[in-house]
Amino acid sequence: MSQVKPLHYQSTRLPAQPRLMAILNLSIAALLVVGLVTSQWLLGDLPQQMQFDARLVPPSSHHWLGTDALGRELWARTLAGLGLSFWVGSLAAMLSTLIALSLAALATLSRRLDTLVSLLIDTLLSVPHLILLMLIAFALGGGTQAVIIAVAVTHWPSLARVLRAELLQLRQAHYVRISRALGKSRWFVLQAHLLPHLLPHCLVGALLLFPHAILHEAALTFLGFGLSPSQPAIGVLLADAMRYLSGGYWWLGVFPGLGLLLMVLGFERLASHLRRAL
């Protein structure tokens, strides 16, 4: 017997042209991810290697993206920085999505919990992002772990609001109410009926959070509250570049900034394609 897919899978298929673009974006992103994930092992200690006879050399065939004040290769440092940002961004986005999903699920269990979660969402959304980020990162003593926690703790409210609204709407669906009337527990209804509907939202939400998380990680590090200055993070590279920009050493800021911009835009586009496809 031929298996028939549910209509909601068929009707949301993208037309050929955007689907091609989505596949192209996905392939580029996959390639980028593989490159970033493996960069740490492939590069070894190249981002830290100093060449005192080649300090602040502009881009050339020998030094592709130029070198910094200590003669370190900028391409290696940029790639390592993007790799580091990728890990921090991924972990922060995943943790943030998990917090958003847990709180949205909690909100469906009782009216009191819903009020509490809504209050928490509104409170966090009313506080400026960056200030909260700096406070949390500073309180946790800085470093990779502190940045991940700070970004995760401050980025969940908007996703939680979407997931909560979706869950509250789903909870009123006939089949959900019938399931309860058939004697199923709230927990069963949550994990069997409600959560599977939220997975596409979570996936897109996490992907949209990811570039945001990367940007905030870079901003925190740039301001000195994030990753350690000894790590080749994009924020560290940009902060270093600030000191030399007035001297005409443009490559120190342009290439790491461009790398960050491309990564953020790439993942943002991928998330938009996925949102349309799912």
């Binding site: 549910p6 909601h8 089949y175 004697g183």
Partner: protein, 204 residues
């Protein structure tokens, strides 16, 4: 006995949909409810099954409030079966959510074994409605509120479905409230018939 006493319900403050309605349904009894569109028939059905909370009055089962958790002895069968099933579940999983009917029971309601591996979108409204009716007949269910359940079925299937339901209801002494626009159907099925108009129940 399922009893509604002085039920009142309104969706907005300026429009009272149900006004002081009282109704009782005994085990094994069939009651018909008809009325114009928007008269509040489905709302009354949902109030009886505990899907809506009345602003005044109460619904009791053997003198006690309807249970809040566990299998509800009063099951509501909605008009649109497509909305009554999880679109991501296969029909077998939907049917077996509360209990596992025997093959003979499936046959009596015209539910074919081949449907069980399909998604609900691959079944017609009528086929899905039969699955929903059978699902609602879990052991422990004592009353059914059948809200326009045969509207989308062809006449032969309608007869088959109501016959199967009648047999099951007689065997288990189920009380059934039949909500329909079709007064001929209600006349055939229910010895006691009500008409809902302007929020009030009138015995036909």
């Amino acid at each position: 006995m399922l009893e509604a006493r002085q039920l009142s319900f309104q969706f907005s403050p300026d429009m009272a949909l149900i006004q002081s309605v009282s109704l009782s349904l005994d085990a094994g009894q069939w009651i018909g409810l008809c009325g114009d569109s928007g008269a509040g028939k489905s709302t009354l059905g949902k109030l009886l099954a505990g899907y809506l909370t009345p602003q005044a009055g109460d619904v009791t089962l053997d003198g006690e409030a309807l249970p809040k958790n566990g299998l509800q002895p009063v099951q509501w069968l909605p008009q649109s079966p497509e909305l009554a099933v999880n679109p991501r579940w296969r029909v077998g999983k939907i049917l077996h959510e509360a209990w596992k009917p025997s093959e003979a029971q499936c046959q009596a309601f015209g539910v074919q074994q081949g449907w069980l591996t399909r998604f609900p979108q691959a079944l017609s409204g009528g086929e899905l409605q039969r699955v929903c009716v059978l699902r609602a007949l879990a052991p422990g269910v004592r009353f059914l509120v059948a809200d326009e359940i045969s509207t989308m079925l062809d006449p032969i299937t309608q007869v088959e479905l109501w016959q199967a339901l009648k047999q099951e209801a007689e065997k288990r002494q189920l009380g059934v409230l039949v909500i329909s626009h079709d007064s001929a159907l209600i006349e055939r099925l229910c010895p006691q018939r009500y008409h809902l108009s302007e929020g009030k129940l009138k015995l036909n």
